[in-house]
Symmetry: C2
Subunit: 434 residues, 2 copies
C-alpha cells in the first residue's frame, strides 16, 4: 500500500515504532491523519490505530468508510476492539457490527459487557490453548500456526473438554522439553487465576506478586474466558493510582490527560468538594462564634489559631495518606486497624509532645505562661485527634465499601479544624478562668 501514496509519507514513518507514529498522527489535522494512516501497510496500520487516544480513534472511525474501518477493526486485539466499540454511539456500533464476521461480532458483544474496573473489562480473548495429551512437538507446531493471531503465546493455557482451566505452560518449557513429552507431564497444574468480576487492582497485584506475563480469567464454573496481559494490568493500575492522587486532593476522578482536559471538565471536577468543604468549615466558624467572648478577652489567642488547626490537619493528612496508599497496594488490610491504632496513638503522642515543646516558647513570648500552657496542651491534643481521625477514616470508608482514597487530606483537615477550634477555645476558657 505504501507504493500508492509515496509522497505524503515522512521518511521516519517507516522505521518508527507504532506508538511513536500514533503520537505523530495525533498532532495532525484529522484529514491528514486519515490519509497518513491509510498510506500505511495493513498490519502496521492496525497497530498504529490501536495506539491512538480514544478521541482520535473515534474521530477517525467516523471519517473512514466502512470497508476500511472493518479491515482495521478485524485485526485489532480483542480488548482494544471492545474498548473502541464502547466509545461508539449505538448507531455506529450497529454499522460496525454489520461489517464484521460472526466470530468477531460475538467477541465484541461479550467483551464490552463487563463492568468497568473488573478483570472482565480489561481482559482479552487473544490467548493460546492446548490440550493436556498433546506432545511438546505438536504443541509447538500448533503455536506456530496460531501465533500471528494471538496477543501472547509465551504462556499457553491447557483446558479440559469443558474448557475448564487445568494447567498452563510457558513457551520456553515447551522448547526445552523432549519432542515427545506430553504436556500434562510438564505443565503447571495449579495456575493462578481470577474471577470475571475481580477488581482490576487485585488483578494487577497478583500479576506483580507472581511476576506473570498474563493472568487467566475464569467464570464461575472454572472455564477460561480470557486473559489480562501484564501491560494492560499496568495501565489499569496506573490509572487507578492517578485516581487515588486526584481523590486525595479532593479532585473528583477523571481519566483524561491533565494537559488536555478542558477548563469545563477541570472546573466541574474541582468545585464539588471545594464547596462541600466550605460548609464543613462553617462548623469551625460556629465554634469560633461560640467563644467570641474568650477571643475578645484574649485576642492574642487568634495568633495561634492557624498554627494549631493546621498542625492538626497536617498530622491527620500524613496518617490518612499513608493508610490510603497502604490499603491500595495491599500492604495493609482492613483487619489490621486494631493493631495499628495503638501504634498510631503512641506515635501521635510523641509527635504532639514534640510540637507542644516547639510552640510553648512562642506562647511564652506572645502571651505569657498561661497562654503558653493553653497553646502547648492544645497542640498535644489536636495532633493526637488529627492523627487518629486521619488514620481511621480510610478504614471506616473501606469498611463501608467506599473508596478509602475519599479520605482526602482536605477532608481530614476540615474535620481536624472544627475539632481543633473547639478544643482550643474550650481549654482556653477553662484554664484562663473566663
Amino acid at each position: 500500500k505504501n507504493e500508492e501514496n509515496p509522497g505524503s509519507e515522512l521518511p521516519k514513518v517507516n522505521a518508527a515504532p507504532a506508538v511513536d507514529l500514533a503520537a505523530w498522527l495525533e498532532e495532525l489535522p484529522p484529514t491528514m491523519a486519515q490519509a497518513q494512516l491509510l498510506a500505511l501497510a495493513l498490519p502496521r496500520r492496525t497497530e498504529t490505530f490501536s495506539y491512538l487516544q480514544p478521541n482520535m480513534q473515534l474521530a477517525l472511525a467516523r471519517r473512514l468508510d466502512r470497508r476500511d474501518l472493518v479491515e482495521i477493526v478485524t485485526q485489532m486485539s480483542a480488548d482494544d476492539r471492545a474498548d473502541l466499540f464502547n466509545h461508539l454511539t449505538p448507531e455506529e456500533q450497529q454499522r460496525l457490527l454489520r461489517g464484521l464476521a460472526r466470530e468477531e461480532r460475538e467477541d465484541i458483544r461479550r467483551l464490552s459487557a463487563y463492568a468497568e474496573g473488573t478483570a472482565g473489562a480489561i481482559m482479552t480473548s487473544d490467548y493460546a490453548t492446548l490440550a493436556a495429551d498433546m506432545t511438546a512437538h505438536e504443541a509447538i507446531e500448533l503455536l506456530r500456526r496460531k501465533a500471528p493471531e494471538k496477543e501472547t503465546i509465551y504462556r499457553s493455557y491447557i483446558l479440559d473438554c469443558e474448557r475448564r482451566l487445568i494447567g498452563s505452560i510457558r513457551l520456553h518449557e515447551l522448547i526445552l522439553a523432549a519432542a515427545d513429552t506430553r504436556i500434562e507431564e510438564i505443565m503447571d497444574h495449579a495456575p493462578v487465576s481470577v474471577a470475571l468480576d475481580s477488581d482490576q487492582e487485585k488483578v494487577a497485584q497478583l500479576i506483580a506478586r507472581y511476576d506473570l506475563l498474563a493472568l487467566p480469567v475464569v467464570d464461575k464454573g472454572g472455564r477460561l474466558v480470557g486473559i489480562v496481559t501484564h501491560d494492560d494490568a499496568a495501565d489499569a493500575m496506573q490509572a487507578e493510582t492517578t485516581e487515588d492522587f486526584q481523590k486525595i486532593a479532593t479532585v473528583r476522578p477523571f481519566s483524561q490527560s491533565v494537559r488536555e482536559a478542558s477548563m469545563g471538565v477541570l472546573y466541574r471536577k474541582r468545585i464539588f468538594w471545594l464547596v462541600l468543604l466550605v460548609f464543613g468549615n462553617l462548623f469551625s466558624g460556629a465554634g469560633i462564634a461560640f467563644f467570641e467572648e474568650t477571643i475578645l478577652a484574649y485576642v492574642s489567642l487568634v495568633f495561634f489559631l492557624p498554627l494549631l488547626i493546621d498542625s492538626s490537619g497536617n498530622a491527620g493528612s500524613q496518617s490518612a495518606t499513608l493508610m490510603v496508599r497502604a490499603l491500595a497496594t495491599g500492604d495493609v488490610a482492613l483487619k489490621d486497624w486494631r493493631n495499628l491504632i495503638l501504634r498510631e496513638l503512641l506515635i501521635a503522642l510523641a509527635l504532639g509532645a514534640t510540637m507542644a515543646l516547639v510552640v510553648f516558647p512562642v506562647g511564652l513570648l506572645r502571651g505569657g505562661s498561661e497562654i503558653a500552657l493553653v497553646v502547648g496542651l492544645t497542640m498535644l491534643l489536636v495532633v493526637i485527634i488529627g492523627s487518629l481521625a486521619g488514620m481511621s477514616l480510610p478504614f471506616l470508608l473501606s469498611r463501608l465499601r467506599l473508596d478509602p482514597a475519599t479520605a482526602s487530606a482536605p477532608l481530614v483537615t476540615t474535620i481536624s479544624d472544627a475539632v481543633g477550634v473547639l478544643v482550643y477555645f474550650w481549654i482556653a476558657t477553662a484554664m484562663l478562668s473566663l
Copy 2:
C-alpha cells in the same frame, strides 16, 4: 533433598508458588525457617530465597554455613544477588565473594556499584545474546542450551563483535521464521534502549510506552551491559509512586512496609515537616498580630478565618497534586507551564467566583453587607492565589532539580494560609475604613 527430611515439611509446600512459600517462611522463627528452606530441593530453594524480604534474607544468610549460602547465591538471578550483596556488611561480603566463582564475583561487583534509582541499579545481566549472522535454527538451538540460566529468553539481543547493541528479536519470531533465515533479516534494527544512569522512572515509562518485557541498558559506547525486566521496573515504579504519596503528605520517604515500620521510623519520618510547617504558620500568626485592632473592632471576621484560609489551601492542594502526578507520569513536562498557567488562572477565577457566591449569603447573615463583600472578595482572591501557587510550585521545584512531589498539600496550604491572612485583613481594614 526432600527425602532427607520428609517429616518437617508441610504438604502445601510442594505445590505452592515460591512467593507464597516465602511469605509462609517469614512467619516462622529463623531456626525453623532455615530448616524448611534447606529441606527444599535446590532450584526451588533459590527461588524461594529470592522472594524473601531483605531482612529475612539477611538473617538467613548469616545463619547458613558458607557452602549452603554459596550454593543458593550462585543460582540467584544477577540483580537479586547484587541486592543481597549490598545489604551485607563488608566482612560478610568478603566471606561470600571468596566462595563464588570468578564470573559471579565480578558480576556482583559490577551490578552493586550503580547509584540507587538508576537503570544500572535495577538491571540484571541474565539476558540472551545472538550474532546477526546466525540462522533462526542455530539461534533456537543456542537458546535451548542457554535457557535455564537466563531470566528471560523471550527477547534476545544481537550484538556486534564489540558488544554494541545492533538489534533484538523475539522468541516467537525465531520460531515462526524458516529454519535457515538469518537473524539480521528479521531482527528489529532499532531496539529502544537506555543509558546506565537513566532514572528508573524513565525506564518504567519506556517499558510501559512500548509494551516491552525488558529494556536493554547500554553504556556510553552503545555496548549492552544489562536489561531491566518489566516486573523489576514495575516494582521500582510502585516504590517511586509510594514515595510520591509520602512526600505529598509531608512524610519523608521510607521504603519499608507501613504495617511493619517501627514507631521510631514513623516518628522520625513525620516530625520533620510538622515542625518546619509550625514555623511557616508563624507567618500567618504574625499577619494576624499585625491586624489585631481590626479583629477587636470586627470580631466576627474571625468566624470566616478557617473557612477562607482552608479554601485557599484546598484549591492549592488540588492544583499541586494534579501537577505532581502529571509530572511523574510524563503527562506534563516542564515546558508546559506557560501553556497551563493561563488555563489555571481562568479555572481559578471560575472556582473563586463560585465560592464567593456560596460564602456571600453567610457573610450577610453573620455580619451584614460590608462583611459579606469583604469575605466574598477575599474568597475570590485567595482561591486564585492558592491555585496559581499550587500549580507553579511543582514546576519550580522540578526546575531547581528537586522532586516536584515536595510541593506537598500541607506546604501549599501553609503558604496559602499566610498569604490568605494578609489579603483578608488588608481588604477588611481597607473596606471597613479602619
